[in-house]
Structures are given as C-alpha cells and as structure tokens.
Amino acid sequence: MSINRSRRFIWPTLLIISGLALVEGHVQATEQSKSNITVKASKWANSSKEIVSPSSSLEDTGDDYANFKHIPDPVEPVNRGIFWFNHQIYHYVFHPLVKVYKSIFPHQVRTGISNVVYNAQYPCRVINDMLQWKPQTAGLETEKFLVNTTAGVGGLFKVSDKIPSLNNVPSTDTSITFAKWGIPNGCYAVWPILGPYSIRDFVGFAGDIAMDPITWITMGAGTFGTLSIATTVPRVTSKGSDQMDNYDTLTHGSIDRYSAVRSAYEQNHKMQESR
C-alpha cells in the first residue's frame, strides 16, 4: 500500500523533473545566446544604423523600426495554441517550483550553482568556437575555464569576471555555428514545453545537448539514477529560475504575450547572425 502510494508521488515528480530538464535545455540555449548577444550589444548598437533611418528630429513618423525582418511563421495559429499550453505549464507548474527553489536556496547559493553549471558546459562552447574557426576565442574560453575551475573552486565562483581579458568572452552554441555556415533558419516554431526555436536552432539545440558533459554524466548514471537527478535538478532549477524572471518581465507588461516573446527571440536571433 505504502509502495503504491509512494509510486503515485514518484511519477508526477519524475514527470516534472523531466519536463524541467526539457525546459532547461531551452534555457541553456537561451542563456548561451543571451551571453552571445551580451557581448555584441554594442556592435548591435552600431549596426542599428542600418535599421534606424537617421533623423535629427524627434518629430519623425516612427518608421525607425520598420525594416526588421521577421522569421517566417507559417503555422502561427498552431504556434499560438502551443504557446498558450506552455504558458499554463509555466504559470501553474514551473512558477511555483521556482518559487520553492528560491525560498530554499539564498541568492548566493543559486548563483554558485548556476556558475558551476555554466563552467561544466565549457566543451560545448570551445568546440563551437573551433567549428567557427575562432581559435583566439577558444583560447580565452579555455583560460576562463581553467581560472574558474582552479581559483573558482570547480567553477563555484566566477573569478574570471574580475579579469578584464576574460570577463567578456563571447559565448557560443551550435545554432550560431550553423548560422555561420550559412544554413538558413527555416520557419519559426513554438515547441511544447521547450518554447520558441527556428528549425535550424532546434537542431542546434540538440547538438548542444549532445555536447553537454552534464548530459554524458546523466546518461552514464542511468535515466533515474541518483547521480542523474543530482546533476539534472540543480542545472534545471538554477537556470530555470533566472529564465522565469526574464519570461515574466517580457510578458507581464505585454498586450500580446506571443508577439512579445517572438519579437524578443527574433531580435536575439538577429544578433547571433550578425556576429
């Protein structure tokens, strides 16, 4: 009886954890792309000259942002349906979980976990740097990894942030590599639980998962092994809590959540392509 009862609790828990793992995959990719964008923000600012028609007067017609090219969205009604479903999951499942996670772990601990996860994903970044033929960036990435692993106690502390040459190393991922190789986007799609990805980025995301050492550990430990849960849960919840904040900010003050998220994704995407 007690076994049946505990099973009843185990399955929903595992379902939630696996769901979070999927979300985290997206989060990871988004976080990586966020870092990529971060570094190039000033470049974007300069490239905005192409988008913004020069005007010395504030009395313009508001055409400054008219030339932005959207990723084709041929199945928008379907995407909107999946987006609605994801929003319910975020709101009723992930949001409460993140709240619990934040109440258990103080901010410093959450940052430490997040740093360790980021440091462990070094192979994914360095392989993509090499695939894009950026040996100098790969070298800096390696230097950063060594500094954070040694002086930063296994990546717990991001000591590299205090070193000027290492505090702004552009992060990369497989999607960016594909973009560099000239592979087209395909269309925009919202995936259940995972969120928005162009077809190309979705394949890139699979590449990132394959190159992630945490995936290797998880697979080596078996799907539901203790080690698997011990490695998956922290990376999911640490990144998930940050990403949930970003999602909330983006959608809270929006008049159309779907368009708000799509536009943010497209703008990030454009940044990656312009790198």
Binding site: A41, S42, D60, G62, H107, H252, D256, S263, Q267
Partner: protein, 193 residues
C-alpha cells in the same frame, strides 16, 4: 592647400560636436541612473520605492517618442485625442511593469562604455549592469530635444523595447486599427495594477 585645411577644420569641428553630444548624453544618463540607484538604496518599502522612482524615470524616458515609434506609421491615423491616450496608457504600462521589478536595497552595478553618435542628435550609450550575479548588456538610445537628452529606447541583451512593442502593436492595429490597440492597452493597464 586651403581646401585641404578647410576640409580638415570642418571634419575636426564635426568630431568636436559628436564628442560634445556624446558627453552630454552620457552625463545625462549617468545622473539619471545615479538618481534612481540612490532612491533604490534609500527606500524602505517596495511601495515607497515605486512611488519615488517614477518622477526621475518620467523625466529621462521619452514616452512620447517611444509610443510613437512603437505604433509606427499608423500613428498618423490616430486622432490627437487617441495619440494622447496612447502615450498616457503606454507610460503607465511601462512604468508599472518595470518599477514592479525594483527591490529596495538591490541595485545593479553599472559600468559605462564609450558611447557613439549614430546620427546628428542621436547617441547610443552601451552599459553593462551586474545584477544578482548576472551580467546584462544594455544600450540606451538617446536623443537631443532642444538641449535635453532623453532616452528613446532601451536595448537589453539585444532586445529593443520599442521594437518588441512594435511587433505587438502591429497585431492589434491589423486587427482593428487605433481602437483595437487602445482597447488592448487599456486591458493591459488594468491587468498590471
């Protein structure tokens, strides 16, 4: 030789103007950020913070231009009354959304990078903010309005606030023009109370 000298002087004066513009915009941005950070530091409650932080934000953010550019060419089809209502609703919506994110005592460490003059009267000021252990690159697009530099767009991690709203507003404008957009803004303002 004389032509070369005049050309050099002209270019030098243009560079001088650009530097002066950059300095003025940067100073305005730094003063405004410092003012907001000071309020965040001193505030005892979230409610107090939200009330106190609004006036400096309203002074430096050019909501009129932000609204107009978010709406785009359809702005001309709005009546003056509709334009005023759109600006008012957009202002309330943005202030409510973003001030709700402020927490007393928690403020970002902002690092300013060299700004660039993108067009006469336009400056882009890139910054990096460290907040809760994360690094955010933010570009402030600023414009000169009769000697007063104001922020007309904020680009956080590559995402432009105005471009994001432009995409959302386009959906409503296609659906039902100015009336549909104003209804959506009214709903959003009511929901963000």
């Amino acid at each position: 030789m004389k032509t070369l000298l005049l050309t050099s002087l002209f270019i030098a004066s243009l560079i001088g103007f650009a530097h002066a513009a950059n300095d003025a915009a940067e100073n305005r941005l730094k003063t405004s950020v410092a003012e907001v950070v000071d309020i965040v530091k001193k505030a005892k409650t979230r409610e107090e913070l939200i009330i106190d932080v609004k006036p400096p934000l309203e002074r430096v953010l050019n909501f009129s231009v932000m609204t107009r550019r978010s709406i785009g060419p359809a702005w001309k089809q709005f009546t003056p009354a509709q334009q005023q209502e759109a600006i008012k609703l957009f202002t309330v919506m943005i202030l409510r959304t973003y001030t709700a994110k402020f927490t007393p005592g928690e403020f970002p460490l902002v690092e300013y990078k060299p700004s660039s003059c993108t067009a006469p009267g336009r400056v882009e000021a890139p910054t990096t903010a460290m907040y809760r252990g994360s690094r955010y690159d933010t570009v402030y697009r600023m414009e000169d309005q009769n000697g007063n530099w104001t922020i007309t767009d904020v680009v956080i991690e590559g995402v432009s606030l105005v471009a994001d709203y432009r995409t959302q507003f386009d959906v409503e404008l296609k659906r039902g023009g100015a009336d549909a957009l104003l209804s959506a803004l009214r709903r959003s303002v009511a929901n963000t109370k």
